[in-house]
Symmetry: C2
Subunit: 416 residues, 2 copies
């Protein structure tokens, strides 16, 4: 597959499956375990690109589905590719668009060839196939491109509540096309399709010298099906592999159960990517199981809603009790909100933008509120990853447990 | 009045009234002619404070009216004052709130004591007097505080159309309180009140060692009344003086006529501030008449609406013709949109965020669009001021005329 990507494992935890590594791409390298901020429409919402980098992010994610609909992959290509388009010179990963086609489309039909869905931008019908998903990503020019997979509902939509209403609705429509939905049969079908489609993705991939294709393991919450999917997917020799079909409505326990089962079954010397995860506890559990890459909208989505992550939990900055609070979101944090002095504003050293100010910005519907809390949250997650990398490299988890008391019960020796 | 402010004139244009100077405050200094970005609610909308400074801004403006209503001056004071509250360590000027009380309030009544109006936040009745306006600004702690003045409509609201509907409505209500509105009588009344209120402001000012009170000249579009107001206002010895009651609906010609008449009648050795102005042509005209300070919402308000200032005019980035345009908003501009390489993103040197990308951001309703065009527009105005300062200092206007062809007809020798 060319030399578009290399992965070096720099150190391993003696007591867990965790490892520290470095991924090299033609647009630079990133340290693992890595958290990728999500830039759905070619922008990390509300954050100037170099400030995304300042939070510690080394690689970001773009969503093929959204970029396909607007402005279109041809436009991005014509304007120099996704890196230049969005002003992010470092590594970029794009998903294949499959998940969004399943979960966000108003109408979709799935067959052995691909997926048809209605554009949320202009209502036109879009056809997506393994070949078109790869072609689109070839045009975008991202460093890591994802296989186009068949994404069944992870939980039988007729039997159990799941959180993501759209996904459930899509699954029901999908089920309605046949008489009598058989969840197990659907999972098997998705496993088979995902494997066949992966072969087609690999065949269609036109830029293997610059872009690296990752395969995606499906299988729902059933470990046997997960194992079979992993076997089929890893049968195709690729630079990396992902665990898909999680964070689509299952419990944190299910995420942990699937991840700790599957991660060790993925090739040891390739990066492992858990898609769409997640909260800090989900990430820590997966890192200990040997996962290397993560992405999630939580930092920016919660930031826009005034929910700030701290080491002792989420605080809701719209709350009236913060109106006269002079403190930083999190004392000791070095993000542009908590410590402007650390971010090119020397005269403000040690003078945080206060919780009171942030509350005022949200009460006044001022853009700077979402901007600042997004920055803080991005820094929070990057700080978590940096601390995890340090703990793995030293195999000293005590410092990590002290800095992240709410996660200490997950860490080796963290709760004696 | 203490030593809260000093103004040094560094050089004068030989052929015009323009001068280059430096204002020193307890929070640092700024070069004049100066353009102050407007941070109405204690934030330059959408822009992180240190990036405001990066555009070249050395002093910013806050609106007392908005801060009085939310979060309240006591809260700002409790949280360390406006500088600390909004993370801007440099000089800040606040207006008195008078103009907004007149123009934005749903209901107001004006008498010799002050103004009553309805809060746009919670509908409660607010009373504002010269004393309360100064007390509020003393609490905010801004470096330059503005006198509370009586703001009549500049144009007879019964006789001529004016642009600002709210101002006209307020004037009509004001007029309706008496039988038969007499515009000339109203202007005379405002002149008298403004002078009396200025004395009360000066008496009420409790922090003259840290904050500098500027008086405001009124008088509408009538030059005789302007001259009388200037005489009365300048009779009070203050660190600086402002021209108020412009940019409230008059033509550019009226703004120029009033400014060129009044500016030379203000004390030579004190900073002169033209409130709420304006477009580039208005600013250049006023600078040549000897004005030193400006503020306007145009860069950020237009930026949020995708209207970008360039040296050849405003371009509307939502326009479909920019969809595949790879160029910078303005080639040669060093703002964070036009040249990320100049803004801490070395690997992007010479690689602008394209007009096509900006159009995509606005089409996708992404916050980064307003952020980037606001930054560009702020840089545009700061670039204009820097070029003006250079031209004045060297009395060489040819380079300025080449860089700003659309303004060249205003410049000395610019159009031979």
């Amino acid at each position: 597959m060319g030399s578009a990507l290399s992965f070096e494992i720099l150190s391993r935890s003696a007591t867990t499956g965790a490892r520290v590594g470095r991924v090299r791409t033609v647009h630079g390298e990133f340290d693992t375990p890595a958290f990728m901020p999500v830039g759905t429409k070619a922008t990390i919402k509300g954050v100037y690109p170099s400030m995304v980098a300042q939070t510690g992010a080394q690689v970001v994610l773009g969503n093929t589905y959204h970029l396909l609909l607007r402005p279109g992959a041809e436009v991005v290509s014509e304007l120099g590719g996704l890196h230049r388009f969005m002003g992010w010179p470092g590594p970029i990963l794009t998903d294949s668009g499959g998940y969004q086609a399943y979960s966000m489309a108003d109408i979709n039909s799935v067959d052995d060839e691909g997926v048809s869905f209605k554009s949320i931008v202009d209502g036109s019908t879009i056809r997506m196939t393994p070949e078109s998903a790869i072609h689109t990503q070839n045009l975008l020019g991202s460093d890591i491109i994802m296989a186009f997979d068949d994404c069944p509902p992870s939980v039988d939509p007729g039997a159990a509540p799941i959180n993501q209403v759209r996904l459930r609705q899509a699954a029901m429509r999908d089920a309605g096309a046949r008489s009598g939905y058989d969840h197990d049969a659907r999972l098997d079908q998705a496993n088979e399709r995902t494997a066949r489609w992966l072969e087609r993705c690999a065949d269609a991939h036109a830029r293997p010298e610059e872009q690296s294709l990752f395969g995606i393991v499906q299988g729902g919450t059933d470990l046997d099906r997960r194992a079979r999917s992993a076997e089929m997917v890893c049968n195709v020799d690729l630079p990396g592999y992902a665990i898909g079909g999680v964070a689509v409505g299952e419990s944190p326990e299910d995420i942990a159960r699937i991840t700790s089962f599957i991660a060790p079954r993925l090739p040891e010397n390739k990066p492992r990517y858990l898609m769409g995860v997640g909260y800090e506890r989900d990430i820590v559990g997966a890192v200990l199981a040997g996962v290397d890459m993560f992405d999630c909208v939580l930092p920016t989505r919660n930031g826009r809603n005034a929910n700030a992550f701290t080491r002792s939990g989420v605080i809701r900055l719209k709350n009236a009790r913060f109106a006269r609070d002079p403190g930083a979101i999190e004392p000791g944090c070095d993000c542009p909100a908590c410590d402007p002095g650390a971010c090119g504003w020397e005269t403000l050293e040690g003078r945080p933008l206060s919780r009171g100010y942030l509350r005022h910005l949200f009460a006044s519907d001022e853009m700077l509120g979402p901007i600042l809390v997004s920055l803080h949250n991005l820094r929070h997650f990057q700080g978590l990853m940096a601390d995890l990398r340090r703990a793995i490299a030293s195999d000293d988890w005590a410092a990590m447990a002290r800095r992240w008391p709410s996660l200490s019960d997950l860490l080796p020796g963290g709760r004696v």
